[in-house]
């Protein structure tokens, strides 16, 4: 890397190399989408800007990657959106249950101009969000028990992601939250350390959870997007034209990822049903879940001013329909 302040000063021989670290495997759809993003950026800048991807958590956990981004060791990272709440409390919103009505609503809001403006407004917090990637809707699954209403969760030990919003949600729903790393979930399910967990459908197959859990209740309590962010310090050094190219490539990768994701989920459901014998329960009382978690959303609006603002923004994005 050189000392040029403007990205136009770079050439294919002496490119601006942007390191992008993330924790997903190279077979994950989001990794593939980001590879496409990297290719498009290189192509449209004639090789002046190169995105170098470090997958598999090679450089550390999401929190570490965020710290590294702030320190200027890496230029970009992909994290689960609520992970950014440390730096900007509005990102707590994405961890809340039933913020989006369904997939169409989710895409409509996330692709809106309002959301894009919010994404680029966080420079003071040290980063800007280039785009998001869907990771579907999360639902509960257990060895043999359907979860149709919050009452079905009562007393069950459910693994959740290690985020405040996720443990809070579980408490509001009446289950017992157990925070553990994803890698421990399979054996813990098998041996009964936990009674169930929650994730999107692909965890049944890629994580082999479907070998143990035979009932997947499609309650779709949360749609937590991944976000691709860049260090504000790096973003500032990029010329407006190149910024435009990067944003366009990012949005293209988001659209491409939607298709890949749908296919991945479809295949996961098929494989889970046909070869693993997982039953999908669709007659879930979503309204009951939504009611049970409504106080949580109010509490978060009270506690985090950014959440209130972003929820208003989301409503505004819906209003233009």
């Amino acid at each position: 890397s050189g000392t040029t302040a403007d990205s136009t000063g770079y050439s294919a021989e002496n490119p601006l190399v942007l390191t992008l670290a993330h924790g997903l495997s190279e077979t994950h759809t989001v990794h593939i989408a980001m590879t496409q993003f990297a290719d498009e950026v290189a192509e449209k800048t004639d090789g002046r800007i190169q995105v170098k991807i470090f997958p598999n958590g090679q450089l550390g956990s999401e929190n570490e990657n965020l710290e590294q981004l702030q320190a200027g060791v890496i230029a970009m990272t992909k994290v689960s959106a609520p992970g950014l709440a440390t730096y900007n409390d509005a990102f707590n919103t994405f961890g809340l249950p039933y913020i989006f009505n369904d997939t169409d609503d989710f895409y409509h809001v996330m692709d809106s101009q309002e959301m894009q403006d919010f994404f680029l407004s966080t420079g003071d917090d040290g980063f800007v969000t280039l785009t998001y990637y869907t990771s579907g809707a999360r639902s509960f699954y257990t060895k043999d028990r359907a979860i149709r209403t919050p009452a079905d969760l009562k007393g069950l030990k459910i693994r959740v992601q290690d985020m405040k919003s996720q443990t809070d949600m579980m408490s509001y729903l009446g289950g017992i939250p157990v925070a553990m790393s994803y890698g421990d979930v399979y054996t813990s399910l098998q041996t009964g350390i936990i009674d169930g967990t929650e994730n999107n459908e692909t965890a049944l197959t890629t994580g082999k959870h479907g070998e143990v859990c035979k009932v997947y209740s499609v309650d779709q309590h949360a749609m937590i997007p991944d976000v691709l962010i860049m260090s504000e310090k790096v973003w500032e050094t990029i010329s407006p034209e190149d910024q435009e190219i990067i944003l366009e490539a990012a949005h293209d990768s988001t659209d491409a990822h939607k298709v890949m994701w749908d296919t991945a989920v479809e295949e996961a459901v098929k494989e889970a049903q046909e070869t693993m014998g997982v039953e999908f329960v669709y007659d879930v009382d979503k309204e009951a879940f939504r009611e049970a978690t409504q106080p949580m959303i109010e509490a978060y609006e009270e506690q985090y001013p950014g959440v209130k603002t972003l929820l208003d923004t989301i409503d505004a994005a819906r209003g233009e329909e």
């Binding site: 470090f54 450089l59 054996t187 813990s188």
Partner: protein
Amino acid sequence: MSITMTTVILFAVFGVLLFLGVPISISIVASSIVTAMSTLSWDQITFITMQKMNSGVESFSLLAVPLFILAGNIMNNGGIAKRLVNFAQLFVGKIPGSMAQANILGNMLFGALSGSSVAAASAMGGCISPIEEENGYDPAYSAAANIASAPTGLLIPPTSAFIVYSTVAGGVSISTLFMAGYIPGILMGLCCMVVAFIGAKKAGMKATGIDHSQSIAKTVWDAVPSLLLIVIVIGGIVSGIFTATEGAGVAVLYCLILSIIYKSIDFKGFLGILLNSAKTSGIILFLISASSAMSFVMAYSGIPAAISNGLMSLTDNKYIIFLLMNIILLVIGMFMDITPAILIFTPIFLPIATSFGMTEIQFGVMLIFNMCLGNITPPVGSVLFVGCGIGHVSIEQVTSKLIPYFAALVAALLAVTYIPALSLGLPSLMGLI
């Protein structure tokens, strides 16, 4: 700067510091820092070094390491080790060189519990070598048997080596690794027994028989609580009653209660054990911290990819690649201790091994088996040092007696490398994979 240059700088600086006698942890950090200087600013380097040194040990499962060290030290002082020796003697008493056989069996049992080869070597060696001396054993013969078999406990679960490996390998299932370690660990013990038997025959040693100063029933009865620990800890972990870390905590509590019942420990003694264990843990945790900094620098500058490309450019025959890996690890193991070696070489070799179809589980077993050899090979090996110290022999004396053990163990290592069923048979039988 080219990747070759970066790799050379990292290993050259590391090697020079290591051989000058700089502590391994500091050698690791210093060489990482020097390597990072070509790409990062000083502030970024100190930031990333400190971040990695903090997060390197920020793992719940890693707690099992200090807890098993503590449990092992309590056992060592609590009369539990002695009872295991007496029990083992029941099975091997009629064989020539039977005390050495008891030592090996004792190491397998004790090592199984404590997961520390050094603790096993000192506990078993300490109990048996006086008796062996009395029976006219050659001290070098006794020490070699003790040293060669002490690392079996690193393979026979529970073992902190697998937990360390699982952490660096990115969360490989610990219970599966534990199951996978059984057969190779027992194989290692059996190899030692055969070599010790042949050595005793050649030297014309006679069977010493079973100690009849107390009845067999009493020896068994005395050993029951110690053996029960194996059942509780391993049974608990494998059946999922608790995690490996929790199992380690239960082991500490159990050993402590047993030692109190045996009246072999008092508060002051316990305080000493606690301090000693905490210091040993601190040294190991700090090494793990340092290695995470090195892993980052290696990943960031693309060194593992470069080494694996270099290795694969030599040949694409997987049998030769696995052989090369083992040779590199054996050479490294002569000089480096097991924990840093696991931490440094897992990120380099695991991706190569998996790309040739070796599972993460089998690779882990192969790596630890290889490292067990490093633990006992001269010139540097913690078990080697402890075994020589306890057995009152020099490294030169014991080395000639260790050679047949090396030969047998290398053969066993190759079997573990090329026969996946040795590692994967038991876990798949139990439905873990």
